[in-house]
């Protein structure tokens, strides 16, 4: 069975791709996934914000309380250098590249234009096969016009594209007024792939401690409908490849994404919950499905259910919503 999938200019041996996640921090995990035939791996994100915070944290603690008291003019040994900034991450890219065969996609979450371009270049130089830009931003300023935010997003991509020549995918949130227009703008700005969608860890209120705390919950299959819709809508309308991410837990989930138009599906929660060997099950079930339905290759499946291919394109639009809602009401 030919599971090959085209993504970011590579012929991947499988449509399953490891999503940016803590799984990638451990090279042994990546080696296992590689042995199990994963298509590509996206490394955990490098957060520029976190790097800066760490620098400030280190600086604060290494100077706090120093030169204040005659007997203890410092509290830590003096080091000539620290592996700060992206050094550790870049070292990780090098090590991962040396350890596995499938393409390695570095992931970057920046806060400044300078940060985006510097780190992107560093990642390319460290050997990353492609880059996934995770543009994660929650605008809260009521005076900031949407257009300006959208322009910033596009500018980030353009700047990054200027300094590197490896393919670039953009991981997006679904919260744009006109998702299709945004996708097109990214496409025109040179995005080689769009990863739909970024899943925000939403805050929660803890009623015991009376405090707001970040709540980390794994996605469920129900979470993947949004991306299913947009993948189907965008398929064939833009040149960029599409990757589905979030809520893909079973082979059925993955198959639906491929049928909707995703070139690859990204996995995290299901591997975290079921173990890395679960990839073998997913592979097996995908092959089983293809055999049953008579597909010879993944390529044949991709986009079968895209909006353009459907006799009733409204299925992915508002009409479908009204239909669904009325059915729901009937059940009451």
């Amino acid at each position: 069975m030919n599971l090959e999938s085209k993504y970011l200019g590579y012929n991947l041996r499988s449509p399953f791709v490891l999503s940016a996640s803590p799984i990638a921090t451990n090279i042994d995990n990546l080696k296992r996934l590689d042995q199990h035939g994963i298509g590509a791996v996206v490394l955990h994100s490098l957060f520029e914000e976190q790097l800066i915070d760490e620098q400030f944290e280190l600086e604060y603690h290494l100077t706090h309380g120093t030169d204040s008291f005659a007997e203890a003019t410092s509290y830590f040994p003096n080091y000539d250098e620290f592996r700060l900034g992206p050094d550790e991450y870049l070292e990780h890219i090098r090590k991962v590249k040396a350890a596995i065969n499938c393409p390695v996609i570095a992931s970057l979450n920046g806060t400044s234009i300078g940060g985006w371009t510097n780190y992107a270049k560093n990642m390319q130089d460290a050997g990353a096969d492609a880059l996934e830009l995770n543009i994660y931003n929650i605008p809260t300023d009521p005076n900031l016009p949407s257009a300006q935010i959208e322009d910033t997003y596009i500018r980030i991509l353009q700047e990054v594209k200027k300094v590197i020549n490896i393919p670039v995918a953009v991981k997006l949130s679904p919260f744009f007024t006109n998702m299709a227009s945004m996708a097109k703008k990214f496409d025109e700005a040179g995005a080689n792939g769009l990863v739909l969608f970024n899943r925000f860890y939403q805050p929660d209120i803890d009623l015991n401690t009376y405090s707001v705390e970040p709540k980390v919950t794994f996605s469920t299959s129900a979470d993947n409908r949004l991306e299913l819709r947009w993948i189907a809508i965008l398929k064939n309308q833009i040149k960029a490849n599409l990757a589905a991410t979030g809520g893909i837990h079973t082979a059925s989930d993955a198959i639906k994404m491929l049928l909707a138009g995703a070139n690859v599906v990204q996995l995290f929660a299901t591997l975290a919950k079921n173990g890395l060997d679960y990839l073998l099950v997913l592979n097996k079930e995908l092959i089983g499905f293809m055999e049953e339905k008579g597909y010879n290759s993944v390529e044949e499946m991709v986009g079968v259910f895209s909006q353009k291919n459907l006799p009733n394109p409204g299925a992915y639009e508002r009409a479908q919503y009204m239909h669904a809602l009325s059915n729901y009401q009937l059940k009451l």
Partner: protein
């Protein structure tokens, strides 16, 4: 001659630089002020820096200085070139081994930062009492006067020791030289190789122990031969001085720097000569130069370099033949001796020269001796001049002191404080800063900039506070075209910077400024308000001396640049911009270069932030117009409260105001006794913000008071009638505790004593349901609250304390109403030790004797000026003492023996007074159960009745009884110290005391490092933690002290962490004290050395315990009698990974930035260790056969 290379370093680094390059093994142990040398060596070894023979020396930390000396001895005997670093008590602990090392003629060099030995008080500062206590060991001794000499003499010592076979001590003045930064010429490796040819090393190695060619050393000898054998070394010692001079001459050929064993500087025809060694020599030589140049005086100084072996002949021949009078200066005191050691050497040399007929003088010179500079007391040119002035008298004072006012026997020399030798070629500056604002760091950086980028020589010396919170620093910087031999504080400054306005209120910061000098003030005020903010005397100085006055709002610039409270870069930029020490543009460029160099390793963001701050500084610095007349109606005010008792105000007030040097000898007690409880008179006002209490939200849990490190939050529940005269803003609410029904409740903050750490706010469990950002305690700016809260605090203190019999010590909420008898200490803001100390003082303080090991707790507990251990309204409180670092458990045990003996005597005598007292009362006293507070108070009442009844009976027995009657009331002996003491240096004694079965309570304040000396590794340090001497993360597990103590079976053992479970901590402390045998409490104490947020340390403690890295347990041997397992594991099974906790603290997390592989590996091992340990304790707590 090799090309000259300069470094701008301090004396410690200068010594370590050469010692490291000439050693193969280095055994170390931290002790101020020598710790830095070991730290440098450890740092260089961890970076792989090699010695001159291409190997990285092995640096090994031992458990004590004695241990380090033993390791040095072993390493030397086994053939490695070995060194060590120490001072003070550390040198004393090495003495037994030094006799052996010298007796076996083993070449080595010990590096000593000469420091005061503790007598009536401890002092970390410099004098020669330690090296003089080791002068009889057989070590040769060389004294260096400044960092350049320290480095040079280190090489000369090594060259001499290997040739003479006599071990050497290279000593220099603690702090004055060890911590003084100077630009010095570095000895290149080639020179070191020339000085130490390989043949010498080979010969040394051949003498080492080696099973290939075995022999014995260290035999035991008998009366028949020991004496003869001991006399064999005489020729070797006789040859030593010449060898040293030879090496000094060789060194001169290689470097151009010539030294003499006894170096005379002065007039060729001098009649008046001072003899001195170490840094004082530089003071006198500079003064002599000045006196000759300006007044043609016939004066000179003979600087003693080689102190042992003392070469009588060379010494005498080094003096000018014209010498008529000699003053010998000793920086030590030997009570009871006929003179101090150097004086006696000189007298002896002179006497023998005359006796042998070899004296070159016409007549026997008059020789007088004097003491100066004890404990780093300033020694200035004015004092040097006073010494010559004394010699010029017909009858010069002998056995004099200089630099203090000795007003009992009037032995002090009169000093003309206006005498000044500073030349205009030298630029002099003083900076007043806060420890936390980065002033010292900035100045060190400025010195490097000038040292490395100009031909100027430079000097930096830094004064620190004895408090660890809100501490003041004063930096003294000099720059000039020649080597600066002025080892005393700047007294005539061209530039004065005041980095915090609060200093203006307390100190005359402009005292030393010269005419036309520059004054820089950091102030948040706008330009038109600045002048009015100055006190009168300082306004007058500015006007009279035509001072140029500049100002900047550095705080705002810092905040805008993201630098928080650190104004270092900003003030440094101002200094260079207006001082004129370098051309402005060049200076700014150099600062920027230096920022890139200094901060580059810490990341681009830090560099950017600092560079932005430089630019922003230049835009915000301005000159302040100076009016013609002073208009202020206030002046610097005394830092003590109005109701301070006279003696405390006079003595401690002077110290606090910066006039401690002026306090005369007669003001002091003769035996080191100091009054308790004087900290309350010092009003420091260091908090920017203080907590405010919301009485409506408060649930009266008492946690805020418990965690307060400085006892500045107090709780009282009292009769509402007492509110009658309460100030209008005094807060109160109904007491919720049903046992105190009908009372009112107040939580009061001491606004002027609070350090603003904020831990109380973290501890407060309440969240305002209407505004979750608020708690029952909220921080608010202190200045607007100060006046009202001061009145409220005074009123609060006037409310009587609750009857202690009605306070349950089983619940935090009631227990925290007990009066703390440990308050307002000098501990760090947010300190993790003091809450335990305070709790002990609350629970048992009125009947406690405390033995306190040297360390943080002895320093914040008793470093002058003021004392935090205090007493209650009845005048009772903890009786406190600090003996040493290493002997604290034994010290405490001794107290117990004395208490028990006096109790025994009282019990023995009591029945003699059956007629006066009555048998019933006697029986009640003898059989009294004294476990609870109420029972003990009842006994105290009984004893009082007896004392009253015997008041007028004065038979010898009655007198004896009355002296010991108080010992019938149970006394609580506490042995308190840190982990450095308990796990390392004092462990032998601690173990002995645990085994004694005696009723003592040991409190180990476990910060897992040597906190007081700057965070060196102890055996308590956990695996993976970075500490000094464990730069790569500690590779081994923490020692399980509790488990070792439990093995005795009859020791009460508890492991507590107040931030994780305060009730557990309280329960353990109460149980430990009640246990009639030895108790040990291992108390987790978060620390500034952990790299944590000190305003939120409790979350770290919670995670620590939740992860299983720290276990809460109690082992109570009394439970065995109830057939219960004595061990109660109070920790629940670990619920978070150890890594999650470890990543919360820089001491662990930083390893990921240094060595990610080691980080992962050590984290893994830490997890395994925590899991295994929990399982083992679980097993121990569950087993039936205990």
């Amino acid at each position: 001659m090799a090309e000259k290379k300069f470094l701008t370093i301090d004396g410690n680094e200068a010594a370590a630089y050469v010692a490291y390059r000439l050693s193969e093994v280095i055994a170390i142990y931290p002790i101020t002020p020598s710790s830095n040398m070991g730290e440098y060596a450890d740092e260089w070894a961890s970076k792989g820096i090699k010695n001159i023979w291409g190997t990285v020396p092995t640096v090994y930390e031992m458990q004590s200085e004695g241990g380090a000396a033993g390791a040095v001895h072993g390493s030397l005997q086994a053939g490695a070139l070995t060194t060590t670093f120490t001072a003070s008590q550390g040198l004393l602990l090495k003495i037994p081994n030094m006799y052996k090392i010298a007796g076996e003629l083993t070449p080595t060099v010990f590096n000593i930062t000469a420091r005061t030995i503790a007598t009536h008080a401890l002092s970390i500062f410099g004098d020669h009492s330690d090296i003089n206590a080791a002068r009889q060991t057989g070590f040769a001794m060389i004294a260096a006067a400044n960092p350049q000499e320290v480095m040079d003499f280190e090489a000369i010592c090594w060259a001499s020791t290997l040739r003479s076979r006599i071990p050497f001590m290279n000593f220099f003045d603690g702090f004055r030289t060890s911590h003084e930064i100077q630009k010095i010429e570095v000895i290149p490796n080639e020179v070191l190789k020339e000085m130490i040819p390989d043949e010498l090393v080979e010969e040394n190695r051949k003498r080492a122990m080696n099973p290939e060619k075995p022999f014995l050393r260290g035999t035991a000898q008998n009366p028949d031969v020991f004496f003869q054998n001991r006399e064999t070394i005489n020729t070797i010692y006789n040859a030593c001085p010449a060898i040293v001079q030879e090496q000094m001459d060789k060194f001169a050929k290689l470097t151009g720097r010539q030294y003499k064993l006894y170096e005379y500087i002065g007039a060729e025809d001098a009649e008046y000569v001072a003899v001195i060694m170490a840094s004082g020599g530089d003071v006198i030589r500079s003064t002599v130069d000045y006196l000759i140049k300006n007044f043609g005086e016939k004066v000179g100084v003979l600087i003693v370099r080689l102190y042992r072996p003392f070469s009588l002949e060379t010494f005498i021949n080094s003096l000018p033949k014209t010498t008529k009078k000699i003053a010998v200066l000793d920086r030590t005191k030997e009570p009871g001796a006929s003179g101090e050691p150097l004086y006696l050497d000189v007298v002896d040399a002179m006497f023998r020269a005359f006796q042998n007929g070899t004296a070159p003088f016409e007549k026997m010179p008059i020789i007088v001796g004097g003491r100066y500079g004890l404990s780093s007391k300033e020694f200035t040119p004015a004092m040097a001049k006073a010494i010559f002035d004394n010699l010029k008298q017909d009858k010069p004072k002998d056995n004099f002191v200089v630099g203090i006012n000795e007003d009992i026997l009037n032995t002090s020399l009169e000093v003309d404080s206006k005498f000044n030798i500073e030349s205009d070629q030298v630029f002099r500056s003083i900076f007043w800063g806060l420890g936390s604002d980065g002033t010292v760091g900035a100045n060190k950086n400025s010195i490097k900039i000038i040292g490395e980028n100009t031909d100027n020589y430079c000097q930096g010396y830094f004064e620190y506070d004895s408090k660890k919170s809100g501490s003041i620093t004063i930096s003294h910087l000099r720059f000039g075209p020649e080597l600066i031999r002025l080892p005393y504080k700047v007294s005539h400054s061209n530039f004065v910077a005041c980095h915090q306005t609060v200093f203006l209120e307390k100190y005359n910061v402009l005292k030393s400024i010269v005419d036309g000098g520059v004054f820089l003030l950091n102030t948040p005020l706008p330009v038109n308000e600045i002048w009015d903010s100055l006190p009168k005397s300082q306004q007058e100085t500015i006007i009279n001396k035509k001072v140029k006055f500049y100002a900047i709002d550095a705080q705002t610039v810092a905040e805008k640049s993201g630098m928080g409270r650190r104004i270092n870069t900003i003030m440094q930029t101002c200094f260079f911009a207006i001082s004129g020490v370098l051309p402005k543009e060049q200076a700014i460029e150099e600062i920027k270069k230096s920022i890139v160099k200094t901060y580059g390793k810490k990341g681009e963001s830090i560099v950017k932030m600092n560079l932005e701050a430089v630019d922003s500084t230049l835009a915000n610095l301005f000159e302040v117009p100076v009016p013609a007349v002073a208009n202020a109606n206030w002046d610097t005010f005394p830092p003590m409260s109005k109701n301070t008792p006279e003696w405390i105000a006079r003595v401690e007030g002077a110290i606090l105001g910066g006039y401690g040097d002026d306090v005369p000898v007669s003001a002091f007690p003769v035996d080191g006794t100091w009054p308790s409880g004087t900290a309350k008179y010092e009003k420091r006002n260091i908090a920017l913000e203080i907590p405010t209490w919301d009485e409506n939200l408060c649930i009266q849990c008492g946690k805020c008071a418990l965690v307060c490190p400085h006892a500045t939050i107090r709780i009282k529940s009292y009769d509402p009638k007492l509110l009658e005269n309460a100030p209008a803003t005094f807060k109160h609410t109904k007491t919720s505790d049903k046992e105190y029904a009908g009372e009112v409740y107040t939580i009061q903050i001491a606004p002027e004593d609070c350090t603003g750490c904020g831990v109380c706010v973290e501890a407060c469990p309440v969240v305002d349901k209407k505004d979750p950002s608020r708690k029952a305690l909220n921080m608010a700016p202190q200045p607007p609250l100060r006046a009202n809260e001061r009145d409220n605090w005074d009123f609060f203190l006037s409310i009587p304390e609750k009857d202690r019999n009605t306070i349950k010590t089983t619940s935090v909420r009631q227990q925290q109403m007990q009066l703390p008898l440990f308050e307002f200490s000098g501990a760090c803001p947010g300190c993790g030790e003091t809450p335990y100390v305070k709790m002990v003082s609350q629970l048992f303080g009125d009947r406690a004797l405390v033995a306190n090991a040297t360390g943080c707790s002895s320093i914040y507990g008793a470093n002058l000026p003021t004392t935090p251990w205090t007493k209650n309204a009845d005048g009772r409180g903890p009786a406190w003492n600090n003996s040493l670092f290493e002997d604290n458990a034994e010290f405490g045990l001794g107290m117990r023996l004395a208490v028990d003996k006096q109790n025994e005597i009282a019990l023995q005598l009591l029945p003699l007074f059956a007629n006066e007292v009555g048998n019933d009362l006697i029986n009640d006293i003898v059989n009294a159960k004294q476990i609870t507070e109420a029972e003990i108070n009842a006994q105290r009442d009984r004893v009082q009745i007896v004392k009253d009844k015997l008041a007028n009976i004065n038979t010898p027995e009655a007198k004896r009884f009355k002296m010991v009657a108080d010992y019938l009331v149970k006394k609580s002996v506490w042995i308190i110290g840190g982990d450095g003491w308990a796990y390392d240096i004092g462990y032998g004694g601690l173990d002995h005391v645990l085994a004694s079965g005696k009723n003592v309570n040991i409190m180990v304040l476990d910060t897992e490092v040597y906190s007081n000396t700057g965070g060196q590794m102890s055996k308590s340090s956990p695996i993976g933690a970075i500490a000094k001497f464990a730069a790569g993360g500690k590779p081994t597990n923490k020692k399980d002290l509790g488990l070792m103590a439990m093995n005795y079976g009859n020791v009460y053992v508890a492991s507590i962490a107040f931030g994780a479970n305060d009730n557990h901590a309280l329960k353990a402390i109460v149980e430990a004290e009640a246990y009639e045998g030895p108790s040990i409490i291992i108390a987790y104490s978060h620390c500034i050395a952990h790299g944590i947020d000190m305003s939120h340390p409790l979350k770290n403690q919670k995670a620590l315990v939740d992860s299983g890295q720290w276990l809460l347990y109690r082992y109570n041997p009394d439970l065995k009698a109830e057939n219960k397992n004595p061990l109660q594991l109070d920790s629940k099974a670990p619920k978070i990974p150890v890594a999650q906790y470890m990543d919360m603290e820089i001491r662990y997390k930083m390893l990921s930035k240094i060595n990610p592989e080691a980080y992962k590996e050590l984290y893994k091992q830490a997890q395994t260790f925590a899991e295994d340990r929990y399982k083992y304790y679980q097993y121990l707590a569950a087993r039936d056969n205990f």
